[in-house]
C-alpha cells in the first residue's frame, strides 16, 4: 500500500468519510458542483479507494477537487454512508500541505486567506459589513450600498451594536478575545497555514 493513500486515511475524518463506495453515482447525480463543473464525486471516491498511488497523486494535483461547494448533499444521500464532500476536505488539506496546488488554485487560496482569513484574526468574524465592499459585490445590489453608506443610522434601528461595547451584532470584539483566537491559531497550525497561503 502506498504512502499517499495511507496519509489520507490517517485523517481523523477518513473512517467516516469513506467506508466502501459501490460506485452507484447517487452523489454525482445530486451534486450541485457536478452539474456546474466538470466534476464527479463518484470518480473521486473510486480513485481514492482503488489505492492507486499515481491516480491519487494526479487527483491531489488536479483542479477538480476544488470544484466541490461543500453543501454535503452527498453525505445525506449516500446509501453506504460515505461523505465525498469530507473526502474532498482531506484531499484539499494534503494538496496544500504537499505543495501540489497549481498557480491558479494557489492564487485563489491566497486571496481568501488575505480577505476572510484576515477578517477572522482582525475582527473575530469571517464576514463584517465594513469588509463587504459594494464595488466588489455588484450582486448585492443598490440596497447593500445604501446600507453600508448609512450603517451608523440604520444598524442601531435593527438592534445592532455597531462597533459598540458590550453584546450585540457587529459589536467591537475585545482584544483579549482576538488574542485567544490568535493563540489557538498558533497552537493548532492555523497560523502556519494562514502564513503559508499568504506567502505563496
Amino acid at each position: 500500500m502506498g504512502n499517499l493513500y495511507n496519509l489520507l486515511m490517517q485523517d481523523s475524518r477518513a473512517s467516516e468519510a469513506l467506508k466502501a463506495c459501490m460506485n452507484c453515482g447517487i452523489c454525482t447525480a445530486i451534486c450541485p458542483a457536478a452539474e456546474f463543473f466538470d466534476y464527479d464525486p463518484r470518480q473521486i471516491c473510486d480513485t481514492v479507494q482503488r489505492k492507486d498511488e499515481n491516480a491519487i497523486e494526479a487527483l491531489l494535483r488536479s483542479e477538480t477537487i476544488w470544484s466541490c461547494g461543500q453543501c454535503l448533499s452527498c453525505k445525506a444521500r449516500c446509501p453506504r454512508g460515505n461523505a465525498p464532500g469530507e473526502i474532498i476536505l482531506i484531499l484539499r488539506k494534503h494538496a496544500q500541505a504537499l505543495g501540489y496546488l497549481n498557480d491558479h488554485i494557489r492564487e485563489q487560496q491566497r486571496r481568501m486567506a488575505s480577505a476572510q482569513g484576515r477578517n477572522i484574526l482582525e475582527t473575530g468574524y469571517c464576514v463584517h459589513p465594513d469588509l463587504v465592499n459594494p464595488a466588489q459585490h455588484p450582486e448585492q445590489g443598490p440596497i447593500w450600498e445604501w446600507y453600508v453608506n448609512n450603517i451608523m443610522d440604520v444598524a442601531p434601528k435593527l438592534g445592532a451594536n455597531y462597533h459598540g461595547e458590550g453584546p450585540g451584532a457587529l459589536r467591537e470584539i475585545h482584544q483579549k478575545n482576538l488574542e485567544e483566537i490568535r493563540r489557538i491559531y498558533e497552537v493548532t497550525g492555523g497560523m502556519d497555514l494562514h502564513q503559508k497561503l499568504l506567502e505563496e
Binding site: 461547494g69 488539506k93 485563489q108 473575530g124 469571517c126 442601531p156 435593527l158 445592532a160 497550525g189
Partner: protein, 351 residues
C-alpha cells in the same frame, strides 16, 4: 392515511436557559433577525437566553473553504463552549446553520474519538488556559421557534393567509444544507423531509409549496462565492431553484440559513439585471424572509426594525396580502427618525 415521514425524525430541544452565539453572515446581513429572535425569546416566550459578547466566529466558512485547518476550527469551537461553561449554561444555540453543522461535527468526532477530545482540551488549555464541556443540548434557533410555534401562535396578530382571497399563503421553505444533510438525525424531519420550517408555516396558517428542487442547495459553495470569478456557480444553483418553484407562484420564500436567505434575495436582483427575468408575475421578485422575520411580522413587530428594507426584493406587497400595518414613510429613516437618502432603484426589479 398519509404517512408523515418527518414524524419519525424528532430531536430533543431544551425548554429554557439558552446560550446564544451570533453568526458572521447574519450579523452582517440580518442583524434585525438576531435581535428579533432574542426579543421573541425574552419578551414573548419569557425564556432566559444569554447573549455572549466574548463569542466570535466558529471559523466554519474558513474550514469549508480550506484556509482554516480542522484542528484550529475544533479548538475555536472548544473556546466557544468554554464561554458557555464559564457563564453556567449547557444549552448552546448558534445563530448560524453552518455553525450548527460545525458544532454537530466536532461533537460527533469527540464522541467517537476520546483521544481527539483530550487533544483538543490540551490545545485549548495551552492556548488560553481554558476548560470546556460539550453542551448537553445543541439546537438551532429555528428548532426553538419550531418547538414553541403553537405558543407563539397565541401571541400572533396575523396569519399566513391572503386577506383578499381567504386562502393560505403559498410558501417555499428552504432549509440550509448544513442543518440536516451532514447529520440527518439532528434535524427535525431528517434531511429528506425537514419539517422545521414547514411546521411553522402550517401552524401559522400557510401552505408549503412542494416543488421539484426543494432540497437543492442555494449555491453558496463557500469558496465559490468568496471568489468573485466563481460566483456563477452560486447564481446558477439559485436560478435552478427559482425556475423550479416559479410555476407554483409562491407568495414568499422562508429560510433558516444565513447564506441561503441572503443569496436567494440578492440573486433574484442579479438575474433580473442580467436576464431581465423575475420569478413572479408582476416583476417585483419573490420576497425572501428569515424565519424570525416571518415570526416577527406575524407577531406585529415593526418591519423596518426587522430589517426588511435592507433586502433587495421588497416585502410591501406581501405585507399588504397579509394585512400587516406598516408606515411607508419610516422605511428609509434611521434611528430616532432621521431622514436618510433613498437607495438607488434596480433597473429591472420593481421596488
Amino acid at each position: 392515511m398519509t404517512k408523515r415521514f418527518w414524524n419519525e425524525y424528532q430531536k430533543e430541544i431544551a425548554d429554557d436557559h439558552f446560550f446564544y452565539e451570533r453568526s458572521c453572515i447574519r450579523q452582517t446581513f440580518f442583524p434585525g433577525s438576531e435581535a428579533a429572535f432574542l426579543r421573541i425569546m425574552r419578551d414573548v416566550l419569557h425564556k432566559d437566553i444569554y447573549d455572549e459578547e466574548n463569542a466570535h466566529t466558529c471559523t466554519g466558512i474558513g474550514y469549508h473553504s480550506d484556509f482554516v485547518p480542522l484542528e484550529t476550527t475544533m479548538t475555536v469551537v472548544a473556546r466557544l463552549f468554554s464561554l458557555m461553561k464559564e457563564k453556567g449554561y449547557t444549552n448552546y444555540v448558534p445563530s448560524c446553520v453552518t455553525s450548527f453543522g460545525i458544532f454537530s461535527e466536532m461533537i460527533d468526532m469527540w464522541q467517537h474519538d476520546p483521544e481527539l477530545l483530550e487533544k483538543t482540551r490540551e490545545n485549548l488549555r495551552k492556548a488560553t488556559g481554558r476548560e470546556f464541556e460539550m453542551p448537553t443540548n445543541l439546537a438551532h434557533p429555528s428548532d426553538i421557534i419550531y418547538k414553541f410555534r403553537e405558543e407563539l401562535k397565541q401571541h400572533m396578530k396575523y396569519q399566513l393567509v391572503n386577506r383578499f382571497t381567504g386562502k393560505p399563503l403559498r410558501v417555499v421553505e428552504h432549509v440550509g444544507c448544513h442543518y440536516a444533510k451532514i447529520f440527518p438525525e439532528r434535524g427535525i424531519g431528517n434531511a429528506e423531509f425537514p419539517y422545521v420550517l414547514a411546521g411553522m408555516i402550517e401552524s401559522w396558517g400557510g401552505e408549503v409549496v412542494d416543488y421539484p428542487e426543494r432540497r437543492h442547495c442555494c449555491g453558496f459553495g463557500f469558496r465559490h462565492y468568496l471568489l468573485q470569478e466563481n460566483r456563477g456557480y452560486s447564481v446558477a444553483n439559485s436560478k435552478k431553484k427559482f425556475e423550479s418553484m416559479e410555476p407554483y407562484e409562491p407568495d414568499f420564500i422562508v429560510s433558516n440559513c444565513p447564506g441561503c436567505s441572503m443569496f436567494m434575495d440578492k440573486w433574484q436582483y442579479t438575474i433580473a439585471e442580467m436576464e431581465n427575468k423575475t420569478y413572479d408575475r408582476d416583476g417585483y421578485g419573490i420576497p425572501v424572509l428569515t424565519y424570525e422575520e416571518m415570526a416577527g411580522l406575524l407577531l406585529g413587530f415593526d418591519p423596518w426594525e426587522l430589517g426588511l428594507q435592507i433586502h433587495q426584493v421588497q416585502s410591501e406587497k406581501l405585507m399588504d396580502k397579509i394585512g400587516i400595518k406598516y408606515d411607508p414613510d419610516a422605511k428609509y429613516r434611521g434611528v430616532n427618525g432621521k431622514i436618510l437618502p433613498q437607495p438607488e432603484k434596480p433597473h429591472v426589479l420593481k421596488q
